[in-house]
Symmetry: C2
Subunit: 484 residues, 2 copies
Amino acid sequence: MIPTLRVERDDAANLSMQLATHLRELILAGDLPPGTRLPASRVLASEQGVSRTTAVAAYEQLTSEGLLVSRVGAGTYISDEVRTPPAHRTPFEADGHLPRLAHFSREISEQFFPRLTHPCSPRPFVTGMPAFDAFPMAQWSRLSAKYWRGARADIMSYPDATGLPELRMAICRHLRANRGLVCEPEEVFVFAGAQDAFLQIAQMLLDPGDRVWMENPGAIGARNAFLSRGAELVPVPVDAEGLDVAAGRRACPNMRMAFVTPAHQHPMGYTMSRDRRFELLAAAEESGAWIVEDDYVGEFHYGRSPLPPLKALDGAGRVVYVGTFSKALFPAIRLGYAVVPSGLVDIFERTLGAAAHGVSHAMQSIVADFIAEGHFSAHLRRMRDLYRTRRDALLAAGARHLDGRLMLLPTETGFHTVGLLPEGADEARVVEAVSAAGLATAPLSRFALSPLAVKGLTLGFSAVAPHEMEKGVERLAAALRALG
Amino acid sequence: MIPTLRVERDDAANLSMQLATHLRELILAGDLPPGTRLPASRVLASEQGVSRTTAVAAYEQLTSEGLLVSRVGAGTYISDEVRTPPAHRTPFEADGHLPRLAHFSREISEQFFPRLTHPCSPRPFVTGMPAFDAFPMAQWSRLSAKYWRGARADIMSYPDATGLPELRMAICRHLRANRGLVCEPEEVFVFAGAQDAFLQIAQMLLDPGDRVWMENPGAIGARNAFLSRGAELVPVPVDAEGLDVAAGRRACPNMRMAFVTPAHQHPMGYTMSRDRRFELLAAAEESGAWIVEDDYVGEFHYGRSPLPPLKALDGAGRVVYVGTFSKALFPAIRLGYAVVPSGLVDIFERTLGAAAHGVSHAMQSIVADFIAEGHFSAHLRRMRDLYRTRRDALLAAGARHLDGRLMLLPTETGFHTVGLLPEGADEARVVEAVSAAGLATAPLSRFALSPLAVKGLTLGFSAVAPHEMEKGVERLAAALRALG
């Protein structure tokens, strides 16, 4: 009657606990319905091939949990108090009796929300992915080994919620050297990646209903982070100079926050012009708004004299700068950071101190050493050259093969560029054909908050070797030709 | 006039960029006010000991940024557009012109919020801290080294937001073996610690204004996580049977969520009784509420036949179970998990997929190996014995030295117990004296949501060796005697 227990000898639980777990599972799964009479402990013992003591102990355990009741002289029964669960993996909607969800979860389950993508294969033209094969893993492993060799109590406890002091210091040094941004360690806060930073910043600065300027097309992660806080997003168009501040003022002059990617507008790849930066700073001051600057590929610029981050021009202390190590090192370490205006330092310290427990001490410490020993700046220099070469290879191959079917934007920064489609092209159909050709791409519409004037697709160059790129562009061209 | 640049040769930035950063800093700091005329590039070059080309390049860079303007024949000036920042580290309140904060941040800055503590020294009677010296760091380092040796592209990209499959599997195995909890890997979601899980669960299940039953006294981290979501907390008293469900029904029959620590009520250390567990499950069904079960020290029970988690009795699919590796391994790895009802699996997958990027791949993978190779269960067995010994040592020493000045609760679980003070004692004064004696403790009032009937302090035993414990208790007794 009762299926036999598969005893796990290497199991931490003793035999009677394993038997109790086995029976509990059958009871709560409804295989043994309430009221069922169980075999006498003697019988159970012989059926399950355990000692009678073990069987008795298991029954006692389940009785103490209220799952079994013993009626004197009448044996052991499954309690009528036991409730059996709904069928396995009922979708929430189908399970009418469950409590309600938060508004954001309901939105997610009812509407279309683009997922954050997790690229992992380096086929053309995957975006947002560094050249893993060019990463100095030997140095990294050495630093990791050194870290754990030295492991003592002082690194095993809770890391400070604001970040490891050595890493906050190292980030200042990096930003000054590689981004022309000067800040104090106390203004730097470490998060588990830029996405985590967006979620925490939204929690600290946004209330439900607050309006946020978002670039359209724009970054998906930040968008969903602000939506999770109940913010109301205001799509603001972008052009070759970046966010169209005048259009933003017309659409919503009293925003609470503006989100921008000045170094490399995501996904179009435009760099925000100097004038637009001053316009945005002025607009934020007029409306009493925060600015969140996502500098996600700021270290990778291929032109001459790049503009520094918007944050470097922020005299009024309204810009929260967000950076990540996902592009400059690799995403799996999950480390990013925010540089906040001095007026927000206390607030961030208090809020994180009350509600957060920090991120992996090991990852923070290893990255801090990686920067301090100079590997990071050296790696950035090498990668800048490598990515420039790969961008050039993509643009050159495009000029050779695409016959104007796709107009590649000559981006000066970042990991990808955009191929614009001619008027009247069917973006969805093109992306379908390109994907069918085994190429990784995304339609611009995927990044749209409201319908876009342009059509096109993203073409990543950072993760793909030039000869692969050439082949990829040939397949891309063939796919486009086939569409006529 | 212009302080000399300290050139950093190992700096990734070239000399002109360093000089531009140097000047930008002086300009934005207000040391060189708008309208100031700068020296001719020839003069700057000699002053700064750089080539004239470098000086010209730096001027061009800053001009392109809009910080400098050149008037033909009249030289180079600092633009009048430049705005200088407020004095360094202005506290938010003092900086009247900054935009407003989210409600939660305002609360934090205006009211008292207990901070999450970060114990790091093993002095008596620190709480919530495992015995770091007993951790098998050699095995851990070996697994870590193995992980990085094998590092390839497939582990360098973004981890799945729901958690590493191997770890989700390993957690199921652990919960079944060590907690008598049976679940499917797809129901397990990995977070950066229990605190991160509380924040994300609050985001998915709570809207501002939703009422949440909280144990009083109760856990601080979960409390602040729910407050960060705008929840309204309802203090519910606890007694030796755990949460007083009847009192909760009277105070707020229509709660949206109940938060409980059944295995070891935090901070009192009581285990929730069987009857109370059934009462709570029934109350949650009646009011359409979720239950969040924090099993933070569930692996550490020193009595016989411990009750399984509340989740194991959850036939109706309302309990979200939260566990952590901070106590069973060590906090610095920042790993925890939630086991959700099958009805919530899709929602959690969608919400995390849209707004989260997962936690450190390395930490997840190393912990998964640590469990799979059996080190984890073995470590738990050793630690259970070690902590039982330390608890016994504390209780025995207390019986020898405290003369009833402090009544130690004989907890059967966890990392600490509570010493109750007699009627009319001055808790704050006692804690002050005990801390002055170099002992780590916290007053029960620290965990109070509303005034408590009992007075006392926490006494951790997990991190302190028995002979240290003896000395600690002697100092504790002396401090209490001194108070008369």
